[in-house]
Symmetry: C2
Subunit: 355 residues, 2 copies
């Protein structure tokens, strides 16, 4: 179980959007894919001339050994890593992660792969973990979550020879392929338009933690979309995604004399708690209060009223990320197509603003 | 990274209820715990006499090297396996598993451990997986789910030298320590007593798949408890735990002229779907229909009405299983105490039977 990728391996960042395969390298060099592996792995009975021809062909085609490091290892682990930088209790509070894991597992299980789940407290711990996993040869690749500005992880993983995909909106300039829906902004604008069209003017936003990138992004779009209609947010309240803080935020919004007539929540589980809190306060949803969630969890479709929400296709994103990563690990898997953006699913929890 | 546990290692099944520790062996032999490891691992600079004394002491105390195999390995993986024998989409449909994983991760994360999650389709695949994980030295131990009659896994894992704990009701005769709440029957009886006390006579049960052990157990207790009151179940309907089948079962129960006045669901997410379906049909919960769930998921506390449910302490069971397994892997962790049985949590979704 060695983690070295052999001599002559240059670990360059992969070029997304133009990913040559080991098959193409083999065909161009007139050898088998096994021979390509052997050339990079410094194994087998290749002549030095053949080895050099294969390495040259790979360089020419821009085939990145780093992207296929796992395929070059003498032993595959059939394990992919998913490192989540969250407090552990968020896994329970936010079904987003179980949806994501379900989507990933749906692709891994039939192929005999396992998912190594690590929860870490911070960026340093996360980076140290990738180094250890690579050094000990524990995983074939990694699914990265929570895209950040100036993200050091793509370069780190390329250096470690670990194939990776990053969950986040598509970005052609990214050093690691990204899997996710683009145009999150368009979805938030669609939510605001939907509520404005129903006559709402006092619209509040119950957001996630202020330090998360997508919290800031969506909050900014929410404010801009309202401003274009000559309005300001009724309020923007930050939470830690827990049920307790969702209920507290809702109660604060509904206690005011001139209360909000519509509340947009950063995820479905908070929205469902919000509906419960409003109903308990004697308000009817949507007659007295409209509620919009975000995620399109299965349960939201079955509560009464059925939840209006933004479909992020979390399971499908997880599945697509797993497929792309499996392909980069040398498995024969086709990439999965995703819709281009999250979409508003209008159900029963939104209605005309009270007169 | 070797998976052999050294010469002289006898892999016997651990004796629950009497688990000597490596510390006790070290103290009795007058050596350090490191020396005990070395003796079993065939490493270090021990004299043959010392090595033999340590091995004899361990045998005398009944210290099982199999229970501490991970501690004896030259390299720890800091990874525990959780193998779930379910269709992948159940992970998403039943928050039970995300609660369980949350409980486990809460103990692993602070100690730098990861959880290797595998979904398998059947028993053969599960057993083959343990063999591979042990042979490749991928995990330090395993949390086993879904206790079965004539379970081959405890013996298999003992043979493989992999420490394990089994999620299930306590059983002193079990070859592998069990972590879970006992007296599931008492909890179901408590549910039936609660509903009978409220005057309900037409009580239905929306169960899980008929082939699951706990489905059969709870169904049997449900029928027996009603029979003791001179009643029979209004109906027992089996589902695959999905929202769709929960809603379909609820509609079938409510369509009848002489409809059920109380429905007990095998888990909370089905119960929440059931409340939605009843409300959509124009029924008030609990005035027209009482609903009881099973699991005590966080969300149930916040919907309107708040869900009456059975607290299975899933997160705490996960945490306790992780702690016990970590201890068996040589970590310095105290075992966690669990309540002795699941308890009924009466909230707002149950009330007097309609007159």
């Amino acid at each position: 179980m060695s983690t070295t990728t052999g001599q002559g391996v240059r670990t360059t960042a992969a070029k997304p959007g133009r990913r040559p395969t080991i098959k193409q390298v083999a065909a161009a060099a007139g050898v088998s894919t096994a021979a390509v592996s052997q050339a990079f792995n410094d194994k087998g009975r290749l002549s030095e001339a053949t080895r050099q021809r294969i390495l040259d062909t790979a360089t020419e085609l821009g085939w990145s050994p780093s992207a296929s490091a796992a395929a070059l290892r003498s032993a595959r682990t059939r394990t992919l890593a998913l490192v989540v930088r969250r407090p552990t209790d968020v896994l329970g509070a936010d079904p987003h992660f179980s949806e994501l894991i379900t989507g990933i597992e749906g692709e891994l299980a039939p192929r005999g792969y396992g998912l190594l789940l690590h929860l870490v407290a911070g960026a340093q711990e996360e980076n140290a973990l990738y180094k250890r996993l690579a050094a000990e040869g524990r995983v074939d690749g990694a699914v990265l979550t929570d895209a950040r500005a100036d993200d050091p992880r793509p370069a780190l993983l390329a250096r470690l020879g670990l194939p990776a995909v990053l969950l986040g909106p598509p970005d052609r300039a990214a050093a690691v392929p990204r899997v996710g829906l683009g145009h999150q902004a368009a979805a938030v604008e669609e939510v605001v338009r939907h509520l404005l069209g129903l006559g709402h003017r006092r619209i509040a936003y119950v957001a996630g933690p202020a330090d998360l990138k997508h919290t800031r992004l969506r909050g900014g779009v929410f404010e801009t979309a309202l401003r274009q209609a000559g309005l300001r947010p009724y309020a923007v309240l930050h939470t830690d995604f827990t049920e307790v803080s969702a209920v507290a935020a809702t109660q604060a919004l509904l206690d005011a004399a001139d209360r909000a007539t519509a509340i947009v929540y950063a995820n479905d589980s908070m929205a469902m708690c919000g509906i419960g809190a409003a109903q308990r306060a004697g308000l009817r949803v949507p007659d007295d209060l409209s509620v919009v969630g975000y995620d399109n969890l299965p349960l939201g479709r079955w509560l009464h009223p059925r939840l209006t929400t933004v479909d992020q296709q979390v399971q499908r994103v997880g599945a697509a990320a797993a497929r792309l990563l499996l392909a980069r690990c040398g498995e024969d898997v086709e990439e999965a197509a995703l819709d281009d953006r999250p979409r508003l699913v209008v159900r029963e929890s939104t209605g005309p603003a009270p007169g």
